[in-house]
Symmetry: C2
Subunit: 342 residues, 2 copies
Amino acid sequence: MSSEVTLKEIAEALGVSAMTVSRALNNRDNVDENTRKKVVSKAEEMGYTPNYVAKSLVSNKTFTIGVVLPEITHAFFPEVVRGIEEVTNKSNYQLLLTNANEQFIREKKAVNALRSQRVDGLLISTSIAIDDFSFYKQIIKSGTSVVFFDRCIEGLGASCVSVNDRTSSYQITEHLITEHGYTKIAHLSGPSNVTIGKERMKGYMEALEKYELPMNDQWIIEGGFQEDKGYKSMKKLLELSEEEYPEAVVVVNDPAAFGAIKALKDEGLSVPDDMAVVGFTDDIRAPLLHPPLTTVHQPAYNVGQKAAKKLIATIENKDEPAENIEVLTTLKIRASCGCGNF
Amino acid sequence: MSSEVTLKEIAEALGVSAMTVSRALNNRDNVDENTRKKVVSKAEEMGYTPNYVAKSLVSNKTFTIGVVLPEITHAFFPEVVRGIEEVTNKSNYQLLLTNANEQFIREKKAVNALRSQRVDGLLISTSIAIDDFSFYKQIIKSGTSVVFFDRCIEGLGASCVSVNDRTSSYQITEHLITEHGYTKIAHLSGPSNVTIGKERMKGYMEALEKYELPMNDQWIIEGGFQEDKGYKSMKKLLELSEEEYPEAVVVVNDPAAFGAIKALKDEGLSVPDDMAVVGFTDDIRAPLLHPPLTTVHQPAYNVGQKAAKKLIATIENKDEPAENIEVLTTLKIRASCGCGNF
DNA sequence: CATTGATTTGATAACGATAAAATATTAAAA
DNA sequence: TTTTAATATTTTATCGTTATCAAATCAATG
């Protein structure tokens, strides 16, 4: 960052001690009003910017929060980041943003880097494929402030902000059953080792159980969160004979639902007449689809705000109790489920 | 961040000096292989994470890059960030992300904060409404590495990665003229004090001049980059009498075009039959619109990559010459311009 | 066995800021 | 004017790491 002006240089220029300059610039008491004015104007004149690196070394505080995302696409996470941003900005924390790209190795690397940067706390949405929690267990035990969001790891004593995945998934499945009378309902799931994947699957199954509908292993296809994964899963589902086709499909999220719908269209099938499709996320593109996608609206911005607030509270008060915060979703009924008039 | 293990503590535990531990962990020569092994395993055992804050204080290097965005919506910038991210990740730099929310005061605050954090360099896309460049002039003169992207400030000696806004705007306007024979073409512009706003306006005007079409002040409406701004601008355009309506409208970017189309629909007008509309950005939603939006595809990811690469080169070699890099766009011809078959 | 040279380790200072303790200065009270 | 109290300033040490130079250890050579 080039050679910057230091306190000492200002001090020398004025013939006072560095300490006095420090005091003056930080508005502490015990500084003569004249001295303060002289110092402030000199600092301005010399283009002084305080060195937070040095400050942090003394105070053991960086006013920096590390954010670990599993992906940065157009959909959910940028919106969460906006929510985080709004809160941290008000409290003068800076965001160190990292993207693990759905790989736990990169996630680990990112977390370690952030810890080395001595961030004051971590906001983490964990990548898929974690089976070993010892990494986070140790970090949390070491006293690091952590708040998980969306993709949480439970049982580690850290707070968690998520969406009521299970009940939302239940509700949208229920909608297909009670409003449309579908009895053959499939599920294109996410990876089973990610909480949200598991939870959404559970909600789907609970709804089927409740209404005593047939559960068919061939109708449950494990895939992923991306469009191409949804496409593949649907292709696989369509390998069944036509008589075995379900009437409706609950897809784990919107991007995957986009892929699934594309697969249906590629096969010459129509949505929702041949097969109804519902998603989860309320991606910005969902209302623009043909037909507009029925989905679960996730208040991403709100998730970000809540997580950031909780983390800052935890940072600034070590006795802040951990809690699981569930942000509530709303159903967005559009046309892809078979509802008309859209 | 809680109490962390230090070099000294490891040193004491092993009965050696801190210096030896430092050397061992940083793979310097002049360390006995046995000592190194002992140190490394002890560090592992004690859960040591190097304190980059202290390291930075000595080395005057933070391996951190500050990014200043004018907004974080779903469209262009998250994609740019992904591109930046890809490059910085490979070079082990961390990203400090800030959002100025289109306000220069916040932008200034963000830049100062980042400078205080002693970032190694800055990637800046400047907010609208800057009339005074002295702020950046001083920063660049102080030796700070800066690369502007998308919304550049020229003439300050800093590199800049942008899109060929003027010629792209020219081309899409030309398309309206030569392919569709429109002679009455309006422009909903961005704020005139932002480079990209100015450039796109210029391209539009050059096309009109080239083809000797009438230029009408009532057809040039200054607005902004957001959907609501586009909506308002179009409403204003529609205050003209119907005979004065243009046949086509070039909108400064896609979100504003979405707003403009909404305004047209609200007035009962159809796109493109009553009025053709084209945008700029190739927002993820553009192909999903009714009708799909003809627009200019901006390689956002590529802009991010190029900007990050240039910045890192500048950081690591102070003699790296400044340059203006123009990333080329492509026309995305869809249906909103009047082209059929979509 | 002393000498040389290489290798390995240690002590000290420094990076830029601040906390805490020690002085110095000024103002108020006796 | 002296004493005391209040205010203002300086000095020293410290945060965790590394650069630099000094010291110690070791191996090889004559």
